[in-house]
C-alpha cells in the first residue's frame, strides 16, 4: 500500500499520476489498465480540485493498493471538502447529436466504465471514494 497527500490543485495532478504509475510499475500492471487508471485519476482528482473546496485550498489523499485474488488495483481518494457522491451522478445521454450534447457527467461515466467496482462513503466529514480495477 502507498499513500500520498497533496493540496487539491490541478498543478499536483502530475505528482499524483506519477506516484500511482510508480506503484503500477512495481506490480507490472498491463499498459492498457494503467492508461485507464490514468484517465480515472484525471477525472476524480480533477473533480476534487474544481469542486471540493470551492475557493479555499484543502487536501486530497490518494491511496493505491493491490490485491491478488483476483489480481486487482484499489484506488481510494479521500478529501474533507463538501459532501459529494459521484455515484449519484446521472449517466449522460450518449446518443444525442453534437448540437444537443451536454458534457456534464461524462467524466464520472468514463470512470464507471473504466473501473470494475466503486464505493462511496461520507465519514468523519470526509468524502471517501474507493475503486477497484481488476487486472
Amino acid at each position: 500500500m502507498k499513500e500520498i497527500t497533496v493540496d487539491a490543485m490541478i498543478e499536483n495532478m502530475n505528482t499524483v499520476t506519477a506516484f500511482v504509475d510508480d506503484f503500477l510499475d512495481q506490480i507490472a500492471c498491463p499498459m492498457k489498465s494503467r492508461i485507464q487508471i490514468n484517465i480515472v485519476i484525471d477525472e476524480i482528482f480533477g473533480n476534487i480540485c474544481h469542486y471540493a473546496y470551492k475557493d479555499s485550498v484543502g487536501a486530497v489523499t490518494v491511496r493505491v493498493e493491490s490485491g491478488n485474488t483476483p489480481k486487482a488495483v484499489f484506488l481510494t481518494f479521500t478529501d474533507n471538502g463538501i459532501p459529494y457522491n459521484p455515484l449519484d451522478t446521472e449517466d449522460p445521454d450518449i446518443t444525442s447529436s453534437s448540437e444537443e450534447r451536454k458534457i456534464g457527467g461524462l467524466g464520472i461515466y468514463l470512470v464507471k466504465k473504466n473501473m470494475d467496482e466503486m464505493k462511496y462513503e461520507y465519514v468523519n466529514q470526509q468524502n471517501r471514494l474507493w475503486m477497484e480495477k481488476r487486472l
Binding site: I10, M13, N14, K32, I35, Q36, N38, I39, D42, E43, F45, G46, C49, P92, I94, T95, S96, S97, S98, E99, R101, I103, L106, G107, Y109, L110, K113
Partner: protein, 98 residues
Amino acid sequence: MTINKKLEAAKLELLLEGRLDTTTSPMLEAELKQSIEGVTELVFDFEKLEYISSAGLRILLAAQKIMNKQGSMVVKNVNEIVAEVFEVTGFSDILTIE
C-alpha cells in the same frame, strides 16, 4: 502535451502528442480559439496521442459545434484507448473518425 500545427489555406491540421486531459486541454482550447476562425477543414491527428479524458472531449465537442457551422472536422489515427473512450461516450457517433 505538444501541439504541432499545420495551416494550409483554410485547412488546419493539429497533431497532438501526449495526453489530452485536465492539465493540457486548456492549451488546445487556446490554440483553437486563436486559429479556428476562417478554417473550413479541421483535422486532428491523434497518432501520437496517448489518451483523452472528459476535459479533452469537451474541447472536441466545442470544436465540432463550430465546424458544423463553418466546414468539416475529422479525427484520424486514434489508438485503441482513445477509440474506446469515443465508443463508450458515444463520441464515435458525433465525430468523424478516420
